[in-house]
């Protein structure tokens, strides 16, 4: 009968498929002008294998929220769990985090940069490169394995950074405005690329963005954050099957347009 006690008593179904849970998460940080409240009592759940987009105005604490989930920070108040792991160190072990900038090492070629994720976990250099190589083929980077970051375009560099994030082998992918630094044409291409990659990889993903269309195009659900201090003001389901085909065509869909409008209304409220 001991096993029954260990099974979650409350809402057994929902906690089964909850990958990430935030309850009453608040976070302040000190600045020169005194304390700044970045997040105020954020409640949010991400289902397993779901792609959730977090949108909000600049400075609303989106990135702070993502770093808290990643285990790079702890909240001042509230609880966070990722796949049931509560401590920051434990969350680090199940989440892979990708920053806005590609952060590629200029002295390593593309393959070496992606392989860094494996080397960081103690895999030898040669073996790490061997294991990373098939992903280059799969994600449209074949023949760029030996290029140095300086020889790659912004979009290509971001792809390499994403492969590095995948190779970390974590169940949860946390993407912090991965395309914000790209020009709009490249960004469109990268959104389609990421949509396919996320569909192929079947992991839980949280994507921070300030681009509502990007959010609706890529995610199963969009959570809208208020201006600072950030808290979730709306959650919008996107009941369209993923991946959603060419971005330009998806955006002309009336359902798509309506969802974008709803998210924008929530943002402006």
């Amino acid at each position: 009968m001991k096993t029954d006690l260990e099974a979650p008593a409350k809402e057994p179904l929902s906690s089964q498929d909850t990958a990430i849970a935030l309850e009453g998460v608040s976070r302040s940080y000190r600045s020169r002008r005194g304390p700044v409240r970045a997040l105020a009592r954020v409640d949010l759940r991400v289902r397993a294998r779901e792609a959730l987009a977090l949108v909000g105005p600049s400075g609303c604490g989106k990135s702070t929220l993502l770093e808290i989930v990643a285990g790079l920070q702890e909240p001042d108040e509230g609880t966070v769990s990722a796949l049931g792991r509560r401590g920051a160190r434990e969350r680090l072990g199940v989440c892979a985090y990708m920053a806005q900038r590609d952060l590629l090492l200029p002295w390593r070629d593309a393959l070496g940069n992606a392989a860094l994720a494996l080397e960081a976990q103690g895999v030898g250099r040669r073996e790490a490169r061997r294991r990373a190589a098939p992903l280059f083929e799969r994600f449209g980077l074949a023949r760029f394995e030996r290029s140095l970051p300086a020889e790659l375009s912004g979009g290509m560099r971001q792809r390499v950074a994403f492969l590095r994030t995948l190779l970390a082998g974590r169940e949860v992918l946390l993407l912090d405005e991965p395309f914000a630094a790209l020009d709009s044409i490249t960004r469109g291409e990268m959104q389609e690329w990421l949509a396919d990659a996320l569909a192929a990889e079947e992991r839980t993903a949280v994507l921070v963005t300030h681009d509502v269309e990007e959010a609706v195009y890529l995610a199963d659900r969009v959570a809208v954050l208020s201006p600072r201090p950030g808290s979730v003001v709306a959650e919008i389901e996107v009941p369209l099957p993923r991946p959603r085909g060419r971005r330009r065509e998806a955006m002309t869909d009336p359902d798509f347009a309506r969802l974008v409008r709803r998210a924008l209304e929530a943002l402006e409220r």
Binding site: A70, G71, L72, L92, G93, C95, A96, Y97, A99, R101, L103, L105, P106, W107, L116, A117, E119, A120, Q121, G122, L148, A150, E151, R164, A168
Partner: protein
């Protein structure tokens, strides 16, 4: 190319001026050896100069090697252990105020007459630029990159080896360039404090014996050693840090 051409022109102008001043009626050979006399001295004394050059070169290279090993090593330790850095950094800066020229005779007393005191002096003056630059380089890594390594689950050592040390390489070479040029001065100081061979001693002896042309010849060779070391470090940097040559390759 144009840059080197201008430098060469400037050097030629300097040598011409030197020759001109040396040929003035009031200036005798003991006060100032002309470039021509210096060149003749280099040719005449070439075996004497060469054998002494090897002695000085050995002191310079070994002293530099010691400075690099100790300097880079202590920079890494100071980087890894913050209390150590905070305690040692002010002392490191203060150590630069010690007049090495004055220390040299004391080193001869402590380490005896051989190569020991020369190495100690070269290492002492080269230690500082190497240490400070490597330390700056290790600390120059962007915080975001360290965050990335943390999220990838990298250990402290792994981050040091894969991110911080490569990032510090250009800084290390800047420090080494400075160290390479001052190392020759260090070796000369060391020899002046007490030596029976070496270019520094040859120059000192030549001065006492009023062999002005030989003194100038020794100085020219010492300068050439420093310039050659500087160039060598620059070449090594190009080979070791190719990504810093900037822009797209090929």
């Amino acid at each position: 190319m144009r840059r080197y051409l201008l430098s060469a022109l400037l050097l030629a102008a300097f040598v011409a001026l030197w020759q001109l001043v040396a040929s003035l009626p009031g200036v005798d050979d003991l006060t100032l050896a002309s470039p021509a006399e210096t060149a003749r001295a280099i040719g005449r004394d070439r075996s004497l100069l060469a054998s002494n050059m090897w002695v000085t070169l050995e002191e310079v290279l070994l002293g530099l090697a010691i400075a690099v090993a100790l300097g880079a090593g202590s920079a890494i330790l100071m980087h890894l252990f913050r209390p150590l850095r905070e305690a040692a950094y002010p002392l490191l800066v203060a150590s630069q105020a010690i007049p090495v020229v004055v220390l040299a005779p004391l080193f001869v007393l402590a380490f005896d007459y051989g190569i020991g005191p020369k190495l100690a002096i070269v290492a002492l003056i080269c230690f500082f630029p190497v240490t400070v630059n490597v330390l700056d380089g290790l600390r120059s890594v962007e915080p975001e990159l360290l965050k990335l390594m943390r999220s990838l689950g990298a250990s402290r050592l792994s981050t040091l080896v894969r991110v911080e040390l490569p990032s510090a390489l250009p800084f290390f070479f800047s420090g080494l360039r400075v160290a390479a040029t001052v190392s020759v001065i260090g070796a000369v100081f060391g020899e002046w404090a007490g030596a029976d061979k070496g270019l520094g001693r040859l120059v000192l002896l030549g001065n006492n014996q009023l062999q002005t042309a030989r003194v100038y010849a020794g100085v020219v060779i010492l300068t050439l050693i420093a310039v050659a070391l500087f160039a060598l470090v620059t070449l090594a940097e190009r080979a070791a840090v190719p990504w810093r040559r900037g822009g797209t390759a090929g």
